[in-house]
């Protein structure tokens, strides 16, 4: 694989063009051309498609699109272009089976295929959702770390330090990022899982200097910094600086691609192609150990819509059949904690992802943006579902996802917000209230009765209550 230094050099020497010309003169026409050439068509009746030929056409379209389009560097206003040999070289020699975490919590990230029985990697946590208090922060991390199916943690975003609102790029941002890492380490220690890997380091950080500062206060080489491209097929020096630092520090990278459904990539067919095209970009430019896509609906702000699930499922199949870089899907759902709808939403996108070869990061509730609307119960449910459907056929999964979508898709615009963490949990003991436990049990029973979901474990709800 070509070196990162070579990629950086191309950011300074690649063809010059304006951002507007890249968007409307290069990106959009190139994408439209390959979507038509390879007959990529959205099928709303099959949110989880089961067509290997279609998946491979998406991959072929994506490689052609990437070759002709490249990645736009916002700071130099130049395109970073890759040759076919470089793309193929990256796919052939990219990372495989990286171990995340330390001690008894260390585990290799699996490469999975569509309909694979290999258990998916489950990252659990608030997925960067904003949290207002350090007490909530530590208790949330502890409860997520107690999830027996959680392989890694995705930490929340701290919004205040010492009563002051954190402003990215300021000293408050540096302190907030450092404190977030220290609080996370303490929460995991309290859960007895000090080696559990953090995979969204460092969510409270905005700028590279904040990532770097926080790294020195508890991010390890077996954790991952989360570094993203800019919508769509763009990069800036701040993100490239994070990559440069991670490479020097020897840390792993979760390469994040938040494609906007309805944005420059257009509809679901374009989104599927762009997600697949990001896979070699994540290797060559972001130097990722994992591809971390989340196609988010432009209007609803979630990844649980029918078209988003289709695009993600199809892209997963395209990628996992053709690349060794593992995929961990992250989801943003509309409903808030302690609602049935949230559990349906998480289940739908998790099922689509897992049977299509992905692993999962569960997950954000209330669009991941409402202050304190997060709970450890929802990712627990999502990870139970993820393990239950490993090995399920895409056809069967499609039927379940269709039925789940019918339960919630008409409510996505005005979803139930549910309860804040401090309302559905006892924040001192860190335990969920009884009503929440009953709701969890009820939906779990429903998933068994309606869909025959084979839950595989007797799970300990954080707070100490067993059930099966």
């Amino acid at each position: 694989m070509i070196s990162f230094a070579t990629v950086v050099e191309r950011a300074f020497t690649g063809p010059i063009c304006t951002e507007r010309d890249f968007e409307l003169g290069i990106f959009v026409p190139n994408l439209r051309k390959v979507v038509e050439k390879y007959s990529i068509k959205y099928d709303p009746q099959h949110p989880v498609p089961a067509d290997d030929d279609l998946a491979d056409r998406v991959w072929a379209a994506a490689m052609e699109f990437l070759l002709e389009t490249g990645v736009y560097c916002l700071d130099t206003e130049r395109r970073i272009l890759f040759t076919q040999e470089e793309i193929e070289g990256a796919l052939e020699t990219g990372p495989r089976g990286h171990v995340f975490g330390e001690g008894k919590d260390a585990k290799a990230m699996p490469r999975r295929f569509p309909e694979d029985k290999t258990p998916p990697w489950c990252s659990v946590g608030p997925t960067s959702s904003p949290v207002s208090s350090e007490l909530y922060y530590v208790n949330l991390v502890k409860a997520h770390a107690e999830n027996p199916l959680g392989d890694s943690i995705t930490i929340p975003c701290l919004t205040h330090v010492d009563g002051q609102q954190i402003v990215g790029g300021s000293p408050l941002g540096v302190e907030g990022a450092i404190r977030a890492v220290l609080l996370t380490r303490e929460g995991m220690r309290r859960a007895g899982r000090p080696g559990m890997p953090i995979v969204n380091g460092v969510t409270t950080a905005t700028r590279a200097q904040e990532h770097i500062a926080a790294h020195h206060f508890g991010i390890r080489q077996t954790d991952a910094l989360e570094i993203g491209t800019v919508h769509e097929m763009k990069i800036d020096f701040d993100s490239m600086n994070k990559v440069a630092y991670s490479l020097a520090a020897g840390s792993l990278i979760f390469a994040e691609n938040g494609v906007i459904l309805g944005g420059l990539a257009g509809g679901p067919a374009g989104v599927a192609v762009v997600i697949a095209a990001y896979n070699p970009v994540d290797l060559l430019l972001l130097r990722g150990a994992v591809q971390h896509p989340f196609p988010t609906h432009f209007d609803l702000g979630v990844t649980s819509t029918r078209d988003s699930i289709w695009a993600r499922s199809l892209a997963n199949q395209a990628v996992t059949r053709n690349s060794t870089l593992p995929v961990v899907n992250v989801g943003y759902s509309a409903a808030g904690p302690m609602t049935k709808m949230l559990l349906y939403e998480h289940s739908a996108w998790v099922i689509g992802s897992v049977v299509s070869g992905g692993s999962v990061e569960v997950g954000a509730s209330a669009r991941g943006t409402a202050l304190d609307y997060t709970s450890p119960m929802d990712p627990l449910f999502g990870s139970e579902v993820a393990h239950a459907v490993a090995g399920m056929s895409r056809k069967e999964a499609n039927g379940i996802v269709n039925a789940l979508l019918e339960k919630y898709e008409d409510k996505l615009r005005d979803p139930p917000i549910g309860q804040k963490y401090q309302e559905c949990y006892n924040v001192v003991s860190g335990k969920p209230n009884q009503e929440f436990i009953e709701l969890y049990r009820e939906v779990r029973r429903e998933m068994v009765a309606q869909f025959g979901l084979p839950f595989k474990f007797t799970v300990l709800i954080p707070g100490g209550e067993f059930y099966s």
């Binding site: 990215g168 907030g176 905005t206 309805g262 420059l264 202050l371």
Partner: protein
Amino acid sequence: MSDESIYERLGATIIAGDKDKLLQAVEDALREGVTPSDIIEKGMSPGMKEVGERFTRYEIYLPEMMMAAEAWEYAMKFLEPKLLEAGTERKKVGRVVLGTVKGDVHSIGKTIVGAMLKMSGFEVFDLGVDVAASAFVTKAEEVEANIIAASALMSTTIPQQKSIIEHLEARGVRSKYCVLVGGGSTNQEWADSIGADGYGRTAGDATALALKAVSKG
């Protein structure tokens, strides 16, 4: 060619986002004796309205919106001198200074809002991303804007929206502008807490708020 078919052609080229074909349609319409004002009001504007409606129905997406808006602006550069000659300068619905706040490089949501505002007849001054609070204010003063619209995606960048309001207050011009905020980490509660005049969760919300603001004067 009948007036109806001339207007249909103008609308269709706007919807297609083809600026060269639109300009050709405009020139042909002028040769047929259609006034610049009718070209805009009866041909191009209905086309723009249709684009906006298709977008809200998820039938088209951002690229089609951007191309339609570009085609509109391209044709208007040609038509505006002719409107002036005819003494019928077209009144804008209002002027909006738009941008993503300092420290934040997320542009898609802001760009969608900009395109929808243009569809609704606003003159939009898009400052791009990572925009300093003072730059919003300076531009608003320069172009005599009605509205300042600031986008922020992250919970660590939304404080910059508050900073814009503080800069307006420091310059003593807060009451001149309607300040709208939006973006993933914002909500009505946040907008209220910083003294913004409105919060738009979606581009459609932002446009409705902007129209309401200018209708109040």
